[in-house]
Symmetry: C2
Subunit: 218 residues, 2 copies
DNA sequence: TAATAAATTTAGACTAATCTAAAAATAGAA
DNA sequence: TTCTATTTTTAGATTAGTCTAAATTTATTA
């Protein structure tokens, strides 16, 4: 059985490996978790001795099959709890992450599966992220960055990259939520900002940085 | 903000003070929590320096108003989560305690109240224990120990003292659950065991020890 | 390729929570 | 009331997780 701290390291390693498609470096983990590189280095040895990671000094870490299974299950729990908080307790999508960070560490052989059943097996969380099933399989969704749409192309907002509260509240204010229909009216070369038609009604302009954090389906 | 460990100490102190109607002794806490008396002694000083307890060396501890508020809220969270697990996720009453022990430590200003609303403000948990409201007020229930019923008296089972899984499973096997109608047919002086009529149907005999753990309402 | 910069690991220290063993204080019995 | 048993506290160690500073290794650049 792992501590919450160890579990968080596994999640960070999973996230980084997935993003960069290579072994997670000490510094990358350190910055992801806001801890010192020294602490990370220390923890990597412990996780390896517990069979959770493959680790060679100075070369970074990857998850073992067991480590991967635990990380995936944490993501499953995190996202199912987020669905619960939004669907059943009526929290907004910007409020749930911190609670889910705690709830994902609840140890119980059965709880997550009962929750899954209670929620009727949702495939995506409130931020559009896929929820792995009990075997760790994700539903793959063909989604592209909003920046990849060309002028006059349309798409549906299906996901966000960031899930910080400030970013999500900004989206709310702009009238953007999952399911919103978007049409690219104009792309400004100068700073990469984009003028959009939202749900065939309002026009808004958003920065390149915001665009990069939005996923759409054509 | 307190650690889970500190919170557990407050709960133990609350429980003991309530049961014995006096300051909780180091040994009582030690045995309640299965830790050494030395650890307890150490923790009591820390909790006092944080303003959670009134503590005088060798005299035991009581909770301050703040300590009491936190302990009560922990009990509120624990019991509401138990209701959730039984009512919504269909766990049985003997399965939920350990999960609730973890869930009660989730920190969120709002979660417990949303949960309370979602569950439609239950007044009692699956073991018949009262759930304090957001202000810390308990619904008092006039309940008596089954041992206090005399021969030929009847009552409804409304609560259990113990909530260990083994005890609850035993009750299930005997056909006893909250709401069950009981009539005392005979009391055996020799060992304090009692013959009962259950729901005006079956007859069972239970030991004195079991009796002491059952609460009924006449 | 050699020097320098960056990344990583090691060394040593700190805190929370725990323990055992020893010392001190309180309570109970003679 | 004095001795003894019990309870409680203190002393000293240990482990997980963290830190800063120093040492080491790897990568980059001249
Ligand atoms: Mn999240
Ligand atoms: Mn999410
Ligand atoms: Mn319980
Ligand atoms: Mn209960």
């Amino acid at each position: 059985m792992l501590s919450s701290t160890e579990e968080n390291y596994l999640k960070a390693i999973y996230k980084i490996s997935e993003r960069d498609n290579k072994a997670a470096s000490t510094n990358a983990i350190s910055s992801e978790m806001s801890t010192s590189a020294a602490s990370v280095s220390d923890m990597l040895q412990r996780l390896s001795s517990k069979g959770m990671t493959h680790y060679e000094k100075y070369k970074g870490v990857t998850l073992t099959e067991q480590g991967n299974r635990i990380a995936t299950n944490l993501i499953r729990k995190h996202r199912l709890w987020e669905v619960f908080l939004v669907e059943k307790l009526n929290f907004t999508w910007d409020e749930v992450h911190d609670m889910a960070e705690q709830l994902e560490h609840i140890q119980s052989p059965d709880l997550v599966n009962r929750l899954d059943q209670f929620l009727e097996y949702p495939k995506f969380d409130p931020h559009g992220d896929p929820i792995p099933d009990a075997d760790g399989n994700f539903t793959h969704r063909r989604q592209i960055e909003l920046t990849n749409l060309t002028t006059k192309e349309s798409g549906t907002l299906v996901g966000v990259q960031e899930d910080s509260s400030t970013f999500l509240k900004y989206l709310d204010q702009m009238g953007l939520s999952l399911g919103t229909e978007l049409k690219v009216l104009e792309k400004f070369e100068f700073d990469g900002s984009v003028k959009l038609l939202v749900n065939n009604k309002e026009q808004i302009t958003i920065s390149n940085k915001v665009c990069k954090n939005l996923f759409v389906k054509k």
